[in-house]
Subunit: 204 residues, 2 copies
């Protein structure tokens, strides 16, 4: 999409909020009132700019004839695979690991993601992650402390909080007092970060 200016974004937001609140789009004067402009032409020029950039449509000669263009509205859901906690060696998305596929709109969790992971065990219980939940996993190596990561340590795949405690020391922390931290010394043990959690689905 084209580059929207901060001010134009404010006008666009204002229109959306107005529609949500009242059920119909604002007039130029309404926008001025909401945003503190003193001339209806301020709104007018912003509207023309937004129209030119294809963010909105304006029905000419029509009061409140503004509609917001939502090109992503038609995002037919994509199919995402659901995988279990896969043993090492086997590629995560190999077909024998795919339990089934789930239709889910793109960008459902704000961020993109690659597959769903079926959770086993209760080691992340206190983070609200329960047995059989589906974690939306984004394959990435960009991990910050506190992220919930899908990590592979030698033979085991596990879901834990990530914390780098020292350049070569990573702690994988459960969210359940009955489980204990896993300390990984990167010089001794191979740690592969599969990705991180960007969302969760529970079916019941």
């Amino acid at each position: 999409m084209k580059n929207i200016t901060p001010q134009q974004q404010k006008v666009l937001d204002c229109i959306q909020v107005y529609i949500n609140k009242t059920g119909f789009p604002p007039t130029r004067a309404d926008i001025c009132r909401e945003l503190g402009f003193k001339s209806p032409n301020s709104a007018e020029t912003h509207l023309r700019a937004l129209e030119k950039k294809d963010f909105i449509s304006i029905e000419s000669g029509t009061s409140r004839g503004i509609s917001i263009n939502n090109p992503e509205i038609k995002h037919e859901g994509n199919e995402y695979p659901i995988v279990g906690l896969v043993a090492a060696g086997s590629p995560t998305l190999a077909s024998e690991n795919v339990e089934k596929v789930l239709n889910c709109p793109k960008g459902f969790f704000g961020s993109d993601f690659d597959y769903f992971l079926r959770v086993r065990g209760l080691s992340m219980k206190d983070a609200g992650i329960m047995e059989d939940d589906l974690i939306a996993v984004k394959k990435t190596q960009e991990i910050k402390n506190g992220d919930i990561v899908i990590a592979r340590i030698e033979d085991e795949v596990t879901v834990k909080y990530f914390q780098r405690s020292a350049p070569n020391i990573v702690h994988l922390k459960p969210a359940n007092k009955e489980f204990s931290d896993i300390e990984v010394n990167l010089e001794e043990t191979e740690l592969y970060i599969e990705g991180k959690s960007v969302g969760l689905i529970r079916e019941n």
Copy 2:
């Protein structure tokens, strides 16, 4: 309140169709054009009747100031509204309570559902329901013991486990030791079951 005439229904449908098509409500003249009336007052009187029967609201002195009041079963397609924990009196799906809408495939949680509820508080923490989670709510009165229900007790809307302990006694049980059970005597206190949870989504 519910006795809408066939002609009024046609006008109401016309308004809905017009909004779906254009993004904004019709004028009196638009309604006349759509339905073949020859006087704007034909539309006007129908609108007044619909307003009196509470099917629509009319913002006076405002062009296209029509909004439809009962979008109860309005999630055509796959758009589901997200609502907060709404205070009593206010209809759950009234537009002012709708935070936004979320595109979600039908039957995503196995069962049908009606809207998403934004969770506040941690009273169901041990059931893996965290603050800001979205609960998929199915509007139903068919509740079994152990179901997670959305209940309204007088002024408060709350999410809890449901347990009928005696014909007239219902316990609403939190999943968090720091919270205590709510005992409801149905003879003394009004309890309205909004629906039950059929799924959960977490965005992070």
